[in-house]
């Protein structure tokens, strides 16, 4: 092995170690930032030593590419609002996917390619293409550039199955006739079409699953590209990301009590029984009255959902938390794994508002305490606190683990109006004896409560 090749490969080992150690440190909030920095250093090392590679003859375009990419990346990373994080991650994912596609495509010009290499090129184009357009659609849905509702048409399944069959066929032809450009272009076209078709039938509430899955794909695409260009570090880093995405996908699916194939292929459309009638009366309450209840409470649990992100209410919530704490009330937060549009979405928003992360309890930690909670404030959440998941067999979300706010002494539900949630399911929580509805904009309601505390 030549000295430079040896040096490059040794540095790749160092980079791999930094990625792995970085991910390990990412496992705790205290060390996570350092972990991310270590992983960034690993990336820097991998990039810098690659520039020593002897097959690199000219640096002009590389410099242009890096400058343009860094500029756009840095600008986007600085400007993005914390509420916009899911679409940002989706977009970056997509960019990783298209990069892998392009690398696979470029690898074709290397000449003397074995069928194994051709298969891996085929895979990196396929996975990269699906990741790219799938992520773009997810980005569009999350940022509401396209309708977040599932887009369905008759024969969708047949079309998708046909598309997959066509991809397999096209892949085989491509591997056998790599010099005929036609199969390559067709393969790219089919891959990007599959990405679009795979994500459009998935609704906004299922986005945490989709983003996790696409995250995994972007890793697998890098992995396939690594095989295509015979490069270790791509394989190591890509499979780490692939594994991470799969774990998150799995966690999200469990939190919705649905299998991955159910999320991908059916959506929430199959409501089993329409005969479910929820009886009872909704009891509204004004913010002024709510204040007196809160003032007397010794434990308050706040359960945020996507609505909090939409209303940008996290800072007001934090203000309320401080006033409650000054009043001697214990404030905790209950975070459902699929609250929001991506895993951990609520945690980031609350961290932005300076809420300490040790007050944020996971579902399994807050549920046993719920009976001792005086007031549970539900802000912008619906399905994740829906007791129908526990008590109404036949409800589409029956069996999904939820935060049992209805077991608290009093529940405040902050809601704009009486419409059912994203999943289109009625929520019996609103009709419970101990539930009070506070109608209005979530942020405005919290601000009113804050003002009441100020006045008294």
């Amino acid at each position: 092995m030549q000295t430079t090749t040896l040096l490059i490969n040794l540095s790749y080992i160092v980079a791999a170690v930094l990625f792995i150690y970085g991910l390990k440190l990412l496992g705790h909030p205290l060390t996570a930032r350092r972990g991310n920095q270590l992983s960034a250093i690993g990336m820097l090392i991998a990039v810098v030593v690659t520039l020593l590679d002897q097959s690199i003859l000219s640096y002009g375009w590389i410099i242009v590419g890096i400058l343009v990419g860094s500029g756009i990346g840095a600008y986007a990373a600085r400007k993005v609002e914390m509420t916009g994080m899911p679409e940002m991650v989706a977009l970056f994912n997509g960019f990783g996917g298209i990069a892998s596609l392009l690398v696979g495509w470029a690898a074709l010009s290397d000449g003397h390619l074995s069928s194994f290499i051709l298969i891996t090129i085929c895979l990196s184009i396929l996975i990269g293409g699906v990741t790219f357009t799938g992520s773009l659609v997810a980005w569009g849905k999350l940022s509401e550039r396209i309708d977040g509702k599932p887009i369905k048409f008759s024969g969708q399944r047949a079309v998708n199955s046909g598309l997959i069959a066509a991809i397999v066929l096209c892949g085989i032809l491509f591997v056998n006739y790599p010099d005929a450009g036609f199969w390559l272009y067709l393969l790219i076209l089919l891959a990007v079409a599959l990405g679009v078709l795979a994500v459009i039938p998935i609704g906004g509430a299922d986005m945490p699953v989709v983003i996790s899955l696409l995250n995994s794909y972007s890793g697998l695409a890098a992995c396939a590209a690594g095989f295509a260009i015979n490069n270790n570090i791509l394989i190591v880093a890509g499979s780490l990301v692939g594994a991470s995405g799969i774990i998150l996908t799995n966690i999200m699916c469990k939190a919705m009590n649905r299998s991955l194939s159910h999320v991908l292929f059916s959506g929430f459309s199959t409501v089993k029984s329409a005969a479910m009638v929820i009886e009872g009366e909704v009891k509204p309450m004004t913010a002024a009255d709510a204040f007196y209840v809160l003032e007397a409470a010794s434990t308050v649990a706040i359960i945020p959902g996507y609505g909090m992100a939409v209303a940008q209410a996290q800072h007001s919530v934090k203000e309320l938390q401080e006033l409650l704490e000054d009043n001697g009330t214990e404030v905790i937060y209950g975070i459902h794994p699929v609250a929001g549009r991506m895993p951990g979405h609520m945690n980031v928003l609350l961290a932005e508002a300076d809420v300490p992360y040790d007050l944020l309890l996971e579902m399994d930690d807050i549920n046993p305490r719920m009976e001792t909670v005086d007031v549970a404030i539900v802000i912008g959440a619906n399905d994740v606190v829906n007791p129908a998941a526990r008590e109404m067999e036949g409800s589409p979300i029956y069996g999904m683990p939820v935060i049992n706010v209805d077991l608290a002494r009093t529940v405040f539900v902050l809601k704009r109006s009486m419409a059912s949630g994203f999943a289109g399911i009625d929520n019996p929580l609103f009709f419970k004896e101990n539930t009070r509805m506070i109608f209005g904009d979530g942020k405005e309601t919290i601000n009113q409560l804050v003002r009441e505390f100020g006045d008294n």
């Binding site: 990336m43 990039v47 960019f95 270790n232 570090i233 895993p343 040790d358």
Partner: protein, 95 residues
């Protein structure tokens, strides 16, 4: 033989990935996702070779495009993760 060796690396890394990520608490899932997303920008390494190899004009073009996209992914991903993680604070002295 080379192929077998690469597959070896693949399998071991996947297992390692599972072990590492399983331990990450839910509160860090968003930074985990954007951080691991940045790592998937490792494709940049492949893109650099393609962009600089002077093989054909098409390869240079594809490579440069790949460099741009992968760099956005890498730089943006790490920076935004850092920005998020800087906000995670522990409760100070039981206020």
């Amino acid at each position: 033989m080379e192929t077998i060796y690469l597959l070896f690396v693949l399998v071991l890394s996947i297992f390692l990935g599972f072990e590492l990520i399983r331990k990450v608490p839910a509160t860090l899932h968003t930074p985990l996702m954007s951080g691991s997303n940045a790592i998937s920008g490792i494709t940049l390494v492949g893109a650099l070779v393609a962009a600089g190899a002077d093989r054909t004009e098409l390869t240079t073009f594809l490579g440069t495009l790949a460099v741009i996209f992968a760099t956005i992914n890498v730089v943006g991903g790490y920076m935004v993760t850092d920005r998020m993680l800087a906000m995670f604070k522990k409760k100070v002295g039981g206020k």
